[in-house]
Symmetry: C2
Subunit: 744 residues, 2 copies
């Protein structure tokens, strides 16, 4: 019990001490593990009725009708089943005498201990552990120990690759080949029904702790598995190990050969070595990405959980994938890449793991052709990034979605939901500012910025009457209002994008004139174009009231029905449902940060008065509890910047615990990646007021009163900078500040 | 070899003597077996790469997005695998030394003999046989004998229910329960992911012919199977038997109990008894439904094949299902019930198995509520039957279909593709005329007719200018022309429907005045309504030129671009592709019988001159080779009625061998049920000129010259009538005619 308490109290552990089948799927989401190559939901190895075992591999999308493509659930590598004296262990059978589950964020290890009495009355202690190695993207390791408590008898393990996996009712895989070279290892080679990708998983199975282990192989169609049977005496422990190696045709032309030969390497290494390499890699990663909040254990652990889940969903080794919108924890938007990838999720990496941020940006570079094609389709120039992207870079947003069976709801957004492209430009600049990676900019970054600027300038229209540039017929980040004109977020970000492109191009012209010339040729950057850019920068309209400091969300927003969220409280449903489609569009109630998102992303552009005025106007009109998962962290960020620390903390804790406590009520499906990333930003950019300066960085802390000290690390131009802020007094601005810089 | 030749020559056998993997799936379709409760594609028990093993159960549809519902492929009951000295038998491995497959239409038995040499060099003779008992809808029986040719060693059989079945990429089933009470039997209880239906398949496995058979059970998830291992000596035969019992929640509230207890009954009976009962039932069925054509073996066998495939897809014991559009052989239109059910497929049954025809009509009666709902939705009265129906009776046509991934093609037809409702009325009248089943009419038939008439009268509009009733904005049977007005087929059938309803109501008023009164109350049949019916009967417009005898397909058809199919020959693609969407709608080229369909269904209404004029006009403009599978048999029928016997025979043979020879090129998907049924009609109503008369029937033969004699049976008002027509001379009308009537 002492140990349990330690887990509950450990800042590195997420744990549960009892099993509640009613939250089975939501907890599967919470206990997701992974290594960025793959994500594995926290399902039990032996299965449970109604579970949703899901393993996803970054970039492995399959074609599907209607929704175009989806990330596919791959054949289950977890499958590990026990028979205790012939009775199959499953927690819905027999008696569950003791149970605990711990996710150790320190090294990504998920453990479960169970005391179970079989229907026939045999009691056994079981201990499961598993991790996807952060040091070896292709390796998953699983261990299960069994100790008879009150009997001696036989224990049989069954370990295999289970091919029959469903992705929301769809099958993606057909068998190609399977087998077992030696009764202890198995492999399953599958291909997508569409032919898009192939995949091979190979697994080695070893049982230790008994004299008479008998292995056998069962060549069950689409489910090759090995069994290991042994006699065990009361009190003695028998341990099964399963090492899995996975390769897809994204990785290599011969996934079967790769998976099988890599399995040999993995097996030679052995479980303990794999684990120690994993742990060492995690130590490196946490050394840069950890945040410690002293004085608030709950916040401390929750923030770490948000970071952890981002870390295990990140493209560590692959520049052709980015951050999927539901991490690698489940479906939702078919787990495509949305604008959250740059605006919410990339910041943690830009600041602490820039190599990963670079991979995610390279994904955009590699998929520029899809973005150019989309721009062309809509009569624009440059790059118009897909609202929902997959490995191909083509637009994959469905044109219709099924509502009830037989009824299709059209999604008319694709033409006007355009602001996402500005987020890519924003992330490129953030990356450059933090890393000073001129090589990236020279080869890829400036081209990205230029193509984005070309898109925005072709999408802007000159209003002769008002003598200004406008962007009409859009949807801003707030999705309660469609087909609006001059959305502040969109216009300002567009103008800013063009500004940055102009500046980056000047830099390139100065530093690498030949490169600049090539780029100008390739992207048809004439003098006239560049002049038009200057005009747009100067004359892009964005509705800002210099007296009040208020920005109007879009043309006419302030004349709409002026209602406050408070008038509808308490409620348990989103405001979109309360108001209905029509009411929603006529009201000032909004789904999420829109003007406030702009304030958050470009906070250095707005003075505190402007931030405060807009926060105070929009917060009471935003569905912060039941709208978008993105809203709470960015309201927290801006509230903290305005010195409204109590409000900021309320939004922040809602964000930080959103997935841990299933506050949105849809936790069974997947994690909310935008909220995970936004939470990190709220801490660093909000409470700590961290920002880059000409010669380094500055902080401007507004910490919650009970926080004693916060420390974190930032990578600045290749150097590791340790930052710690002591909260010394009642006033939040009264903070002490310490810094260490370590060479990269 | 002698035996082989006999099979090839037998009028009851469809056979192949070599295995060609390139037509694997098309031949799977050809060799479909079944019993009306279930249909089983001719896949191999042990599987083959790229095969499409499919088992369908009538009425077992599942909800799916976009396409609303589809008939679901159920867990595979065929699964039976052999290991010869440890090597798994599959025809793509080792050496295939001899092969033949025979479908015996006499009793629905599919057999396969194989001589196979394993990769290690062991040669074995295998003989498979299987059938779905026509005497017991819930029973499938499979047998496999193995004889070592040149070795003594071990043979292992593996027999199970394989749960992982895919329906065009979709999973429909999740496991509920599985097990093996005794190491020889297994069961798999599954439920649809949507919850729509449950299903249990239970199977018993016995191996004879060896002393030392060792059975074992493998509780593999979602795939319970038993193994039987034995030593066999060279030249000795070992035989495995698998008996399968299937029940769904459509049949009973407890499908598992039902399947398992029925399995006991089946096993007690034993394979031979099940087979003899099946054979006896088939003898009864063929006694009524067979046609013998002497002098044309190819036609004789092909016609029998068409009848056979209809017989095994018919609702023998279930009045809540009808004829699915692809029989039970595969998908296409999600295997919904379309207008072909009545216009093409029901005639064989009305004339030879009226109990089955009644079941199919009762399906329409039981689903009247869905038809009423649809009528209401489109502002009409009465019953508007779904264009695509399933077990619910609701309209299940998709509103959009995926064309390429990401592109959805809207189907705007549902509102104007209305002619199918008239087919239901037509079949009711055919059934009544043949059977004299007044009980059916009193309880159900008149109500069906009345609701159909109400629909047509509410859908007709009065043209004050022309002083006539019209039906505007429809699609006729020819689907190359949309949104047309006054489609002759539609208008004439509507008028005819109302006429028949009026007459049937008069009959009811006379014979069962109370019933009539109730019906009039229930269906709001006021005097005004009935007067309107009379008006429509008298004044419904249908464009008929009394001089030429020509009927115009719809308003303006004759003014469209007057092209002939011949101008585009030779070609290998449908005219719709040649002309494009737009060109198609502006041309007189049509997809299928439209005016000619009317001539075929109501042939007694039109004189030979009219039939000939219309046939001669429309045939050269119809895409008979690459359009609808429905076209060839009905053109054959009408051509025969016009005395154009050679042309008729050409169309007829194209129809009769369409599926056997995969003439449409899409045979891998499923059979073409409309063509199967139309072929039967072409023989009986076309070549034989069979029709009912006031006091019985008459024939008016126009037989192909080389046909010597044709004989068939018809059920007339409960009496079995044997009809034989001798073709005595050069002129086709010069036929002798004999008849026997047998009491029912």
């Amino acid at each position: 019990m002492k140990e349990r308490k330690e887990h509950l109290e450990s800042p590195w552990h997420i744990s549960e001490n009892s099993f509640n089948p009613s939250v089975l799927r939501a907890q599967e989401t919470v206990f997701t593990t992974g290594n960025g190559y793959c994500g594995v939901r926290g399902s039990f190895e032996e299965g449970y009725p109604g579970d949703n075992p899901t393993t996803m591999i970054a970039g492995v999308y399959d074609k599907v009708p209607l929704e175009n493509s989806e990330m596919a659930n791959v054949p289950n590598p977890l499958y590990l089943v026990l028979y205790i004296n012939g009775e199959r262990f499953r927690m819905d059978r027999g008696e569950l005498l003791d149970y605990s589950r711990i996710l150790n964020m320190k090294n990504g290890m998920l453990t479960r201990t169970v005391r179970w009495r079989s229907p026939e009355g045999d009691t056994v202690d079981l201990a499961f552990e598993r991790f996807a190695s952060l040091a070896d993207p292709h390796c998953i390791a699983i261990k299960c120990s069994a100790t008879p408590v009150d009997f001696s008898g036989t224990i049989e393990f069954r370990s295999g690759i289970y091919g029959y996996m469903v992705t929301e009712g769809r099958c993606h895989w057909r068998p190609c080949d399977q087998g077992s070279p030696d009764r202890q290892s198995v492999y399953l080679h599958t291909a997508m029904l569409s032919g898009e990708f192939e995949l091979c998983e190979a697994a080695q199975f070893t049982v230790d702790g008994a004299q008479d282990v008998v292995y056998d192989y069962c060549d069950c169609d689409f489910f090759p598995f090995t069994t290991a049977r042994a006699s065990v005496r009361k009190g003695e422990t028998i341990t099964a190990q399963k090492l899995v190696s996975t390769f897809t045709s994204r990785d290599t032309a011969g996934p079967q050969e790769a998976a099988r030969s890599h399995l040999s390497v993995v097996c030679t290494k052995g479980y303990d070595k794999i684990l120690s390499e994993n742990n060492a890699r995690w130590d490196q990663v946490w050394d840069r990405s950890n945040i410690t909040i002293e004085g608030d254990d709950e916040a401390d652990r929750a923030v770490r959980y948000n970071i952890f889940q981002l870390l295990i969903a990140a493209p560590w080794n692959d520049e052709k994938v980015s951050f999927a919108v539901k991490t690698l924890s489940g479906l939702g938007y078919r787990n495509h890449v949305l604008w959250e990838a740059e605006t919410c999720m990339s910041s943690l990496f830009i600041c602490t793991q820039p190599e990963v941020a670079r991979n995610a940006l390279m994904y955009r570079y590699h998929t520029l052709d899809g973005a150019r094609k989309k721009a062309k389709k809509y009569g624009c120039k440059g790059a118009m990034f897909p609202w929902e992207g997959d490995h191909t870079g083509d637009e994959k947003i469905p044109s219709m979605v099924p509502h009830h069976y037989g009824e299709l709801i059209p999604i008319p957004f694709v033409k006007c939901q355009i602001h996402n492209t500005s987020g890519v430009g924003w992330a490129v600049m953030q990356y450059w500012n933090y890393t000073g990676d001129d090589d990236f900019m020279r080869e890829y970054g400036v081209e990205l910025l230029v193509e984005i600027a070309r898109f925005w300038s072709s999408r802007s229209t000159w209003n002769e009457h008002e003598k200004r540039y406008e962007i009409i017929d859009v949807i801003g980040p707030d999705e309660y209002h469609w087909h609006v004109n001059n959305n502040t977020y969109t216009n300002y970000m567009a103008k800013w994008n063009i500004e940055q492109a102009r500046a980056a191009l000047s830099w390139l012209e100065k530093e690498f004139p030949e490169k600049a010339e090539q780029l100008k040729q390739r992207c048809e950057l004439t003098k006239a174009t560049l002049q038009q850019w200057n005009d747009i920068i100067a004359l892009m309209y964005w509705p800002y009231n210099t007296v009040t400091g208020l920005m109007e969300q879009f043309d006419g927003y302030f004349s709409m029905k002026n209602t406050l969220i408070a008038e509808y409280e308490p409620r348990s449903i989103p405001m979109s449902v309360v108001l209905g489609l029509d009411g929603m569009q006529k009201s000032q109630i909004i789904k999420q940060a829109d003007v406030i998102m702009l304030c958050a992303l470009l906070k250095e552009r707005f003075d505190p008065k402007t931030l405060r005025a807009n926060y105070e106007y929009y917060a009471p009109r935003t569905d912060l509890t039941h709208g978008s998962a993105m809203a709470p962290p960015f309201y927290a960020l801006v509230a903290a910047r305005c010195g409204k620390v109590d409000e900021a903390y309320r939004h922040f804790m809602h964000a930080a615990r959103m997935d841990l406590d299933d506050l949105k009520g849809d936790g069974e499906k997947a994690l909310h990646a935008s909220c995970l990333g936004g939470t990190w930003q709220a801490v660093i950019f909000g409470f700590c007021g961290f920002q880059l300066t000409e010669d380094g960085y500055s902080t401007d802390p507004n910490l919650p009163k009970h926080w004693k000290r916060i420390s974190f690390t930032c990578m600045l131009r290749g150097k590791k900078v340790r930052i710690a802020i002591d909260n010394t007094g009642m006033h939040s601005r009264n903070c002490k500040h310490s810094q260490t810089t370590i060479g990269a």
